[in-house]
Symmetry: D2
């Protein structure tokens, strides 16, 4: 059994981690911390967990994790970078679900996150936790940077095209639609029910923090790659739909077979038949990214549709997938879940 600590268990990413780990056959939840809720039963804050989680929230001290093999940070950006070093020094492995270790280029990180990085020395050590790209490195990683929700969908949509040189690498437009849970569990007017239901809007057109993350990963595959990225807020809880446009090189004849062979052995990437339109609900609660690739011959564009549950493959599920790899378990353990329809 892997002994597990969760830092910051009161957000949506945190409660999803707890929900999934509570049923994981090789995971043992030892400590869930929350500064604000220390002493409260976890199932008192989240009655959905009554009967499956007996822990109380504890105060977030380093000592709290002494007994753990692995600590997940389900905290806001800027927390893990102040604590990871001490945990690693104590022999505890770390998965950060926030952004502290996602960018290898520290000045870029500091520019987009508006603060000095507290632990730049560890950045090189961190592995970007996208198993479909970095599986082998993740197995041996001490510190995993769990990818952002948008980047997971956009990168997986583009990997086959970039790796096979099928697109003009600077022509990418990623128009992404996300449910509201991506913004976290907060008392904020901007995500109040009365403000976001029955409405759609773009945000961050001039620049969103997931842009440099996607760009850096794509450029690690093809140095010439670049993209335009526009996120939109949708009136639903869970789900991301990435609609990715790029200029096709070649005639599209190998498009479908390229995707199918590229992802043939991936347990959590599902390539749909040609002509399909995936729905975000088909992956609700599941760790799957479901992809459909289209070719518009007249415009000579490829259009790739990718859907995921932002809290699962876009956050907690992918973190557990990484945990499974890091601890030598079957990669799918605890994640064999179908999307919940309706």
């Amino acid at each position: 059994m892997i002994k597990i600590g969760i830092v910051g268990g009161t957000g949506y990413t945190g409660v999803e981690l707890v929900r999934l780990l509570a049923r994981h056959p090789e995971a043992s939840l030892r400590v869930i911390t929350s500064r604000a809720q220390a002493g409260t039963p976890v199932a008192g804050l989240f009655p959905s967990l009554r009967g499956s989680v007996e822990l109380d929230f504890s105060a977030p001290t380093i000592d709290a994790y002494a007994d753990c093999d692995l600590v997940f940070f389900a905290t806001p950006n800027g927390t893990a970078m102040t604590q990871a070093e001490a945990l690693l020094a104590a022999g505890i492995r770390v998965i950060d679900l926030a952004a502290d270790f996602r960018l290898r280029h520290v000045p870029t990180w500091e520019q987009w996150y508006g603060t000095a990085h507290a632990c730049p020395a560890l950045v090189e050590d961190a592995v970007y936790g996208l198993p479909e790209l970095n599986r082998d490195s993740i197995r041996n990683a001490r510190l995993v940077a769990n990818p952002g929700c948008y980047p997971t969908s956009v990168i997986l949509a583009l990997l086959p095209l970039l790796k096979h040189g099928l697109i003009e690498p600077k022509s990418i437009v990623a128009d992404c639609k996300s449910g509201v849970s991506g913004a976290g569990r907060k008392a904020e007017l901007g995500t109040a029910f009365g403000e976001v239901t029955e409405s759609v809007k773009a945000y961050g057109v001039s620049g969103h923090r997931h842009l440099p993350e996607i760009r850096e990963v794509l450029q690690s595959v093809d140095a010439a790659a670049d993209l335009v990225f526009v996120p939109h807020l949708m009136p639903m809880i869970r789900g991301i739909h990435a609609t990715v446009y790029a200029d096709a090189l070649g005639d599209g004849a190998v498009l479908q077979s390229t995707y199918e062979s590229f992802y043939r052995d991936e347990p959590f990437v599902d390539v749909m038949p040609a002509g399909s339109h995936p729905e975000t609900r088909s992956v609700r609660g599941a760790n799957t990214v479901r992809i459909a690739a289209h070719h518009l011959p007249q415009a000579n564009k490829f259009i790739v549709l990718a859907v995921e549950d932002n809290l699962v493959k876009g956050a907690a599920g992918q973190a557990i997938q990484n945990m499974n790899l890091m601890f030598g378990l079957d990669e799918t353990l605890g994640l064999e879940i179908s999307g919940m329809i309706p």
Copy 2:
């Protein structure tokens, strides 16, 4: 492994059964029938099941189930009663998720369902599949009538009060709120998105088919019991919230302890602390009924709040709970699921 057939796998109850059974460690799905979809892959109609269900829909002939130990009817009312006899004769056990065998009094059934009962001889044989009431009979049943979604919540809300004589048995008002999935998966204007979202309405005030079902079960506990039942349609997919009012006999001092002791050993009934207000989302996807009991001393009323997922404890999950009992398995097998929040 229990070999399983599902009649009518294209509705919401059917797909939920498939989703849950696909992960059940002792269940083996052998045949899923659909007249309209025969030949189509199940996962073609429900892409959420891609990768977890390999079956095609087959035509609904009795022969199709020859290999099965158990057949679930996830069909409209009126189907199971025409086929159950042949299946039972072949030694196959049956759980009907529709209403054909829920009422013991056949004339009442015929009045509310507007047709002659095709198989009245079997009615007496059928066991009403509410484990909290009929656990022992279910273990030995050949034919189980799985309860309606509203009745499950209302009956479980009332059982402790009626069994302990704590209320005036004719004073019950059950004001119930249900998500839209309770109406099934159909091409109907009345459940179109544009008709039901952002709106609430009552329906069936003059009489709903779940009323005689609730009444008959309550009267089996207390012959004097009767109720007013008003269902309402809510703009959400899943979830029932029953708000049950009754005139208190006595002073309410034992209310909380009565509920707690009554349901202490029930794996799927969760009595919340006094003063609680359960949310339907806390049981989304879970087989739990979550209950809070209140006393209004000034009005001398008890108010019991009960929430369930109408597709799980109100349908497919309860059917699997019954299956577990019928086949001597741990009652919770395949159902250890927490509610999905958010």
Copy 3:
């Protein structure tokens, strides 16, 4: 033209007032105050008002309203009672959309609102602004207490029954369902999209501030009246559905005709045909309460269904209806709006 001030124009009630008054042919918006937004264009905060409202928010000083004939308080409870006296002394009439002047019995107000009343002397002067009950007094009122959203629907549902002695006056149960906008426009976790969508819950079972308000008004009609009131939160923006149960006196033969004749001349109460089930969406954006009365002979209960838009007839629209009466205008002026379907 009536010169109008609005205190607290940044909430949902406030913006609805502004939206409706901007098109009112006899209203001239002069000043809209907000402590937090002083200096911001109203249409900057609410882009929906671009092109129809040119004002900036101003600081909430008494002087700001010097030019006004009428001031609406669209503020939290506890504000109007500190400022009404000065306005009235300056000859400015006042409509409070909050609760400060709704209860005539000051100790009850102080008990439920948890604070001393700042201006008890004015309470007797205030008129409860339900035109269907107090039309003549409203015409001459200097100070109108605009009713709460739940009370408007429950009281209008019950008036014909109580006035005609058709029910047992202590037997009333009001099970009410409200959209989220009733909780106001606030940065609160409890009304975040991720917390309330796809879910239903009761709240305030042990006591809600609208209970003493309803009780006091009902008792002004029938001193013996009392009720149980349970509010529920629905996953929608606008709309209240009141389901009101009471024990019938007599046989119900006159039920429909009683409602029809009682409300025959009321422009904003619509009695539906017998057997109807009103939908909240049918009054979305409209100042109408739509009512259907049912009789269950077997249980000898009357069940009255009443729907309203909590922000219109339950708040801003009713306030304008009161304004029209106070200033001798046609009661329906600016309010001739049909519900927006879909």
Copy 4:
């Protein structure tokens, strides 16, 4: 008063027309037809119209419109083309809210709509009813083809760029998001609540009927223009959000001023301040298209965000705007409505 007939008043476009025309000071509704509902009161089918519309649906015969000055077709595609000729011959003007007369190139129409055009001779006579493009022709038109919902938003987003030559005309990508009401009021599984709520999907990637419509209009402005168009279904009733991408020619310095001057005198196009992100709810129920133009210098892209209510500016409201022009009225008459927030 303009005497008005509506063919097909039972759909969402039809009921919205009725709602808006019922309050229009110069419109007199004379006849609303529906084959299926002939004899039913309009307000019986749509209780929201109780008290404001007294008509019954009548059978759709040509004689029914004899008394009318203007007939709106709120029918499925293929109806108006069979009846317009007779109406025009009788001196009755026609506005078709469906697609029969939107494309000037009849073979293209026949290819996309899969049938022979019943009345090609009238196509040349028809005016494409986008006032911002064709105001003068609309004034004198006998037959107006009311634009599609997606085309209205995409064309208005692009007109300033194309007319001023600010973009590479073949580089356009229009990623559009629509509420469910755009699919009409029908008993269809695809738009059932349980199928579309809490989910997002693209559809028609390989080709949607609004593509040739947008293309033809854009090419009438710049013959070289072409675009990729991908529509998406959003879990909300009303609203379209068009996100339009194009390669910038020049440096973007004139972008904001170009939009502001281009639309300065347009009553129903609102150009927001630079850097804005319009929300669809800001135009809920309003006849406004709200636009924000962005420049991404690094990628050298212009991104234009445009929102509309698909049932108002995208259908019924724009039809009334056209009516006002055709009959010499103030263009804004009956349409001075702000968006309904929340």
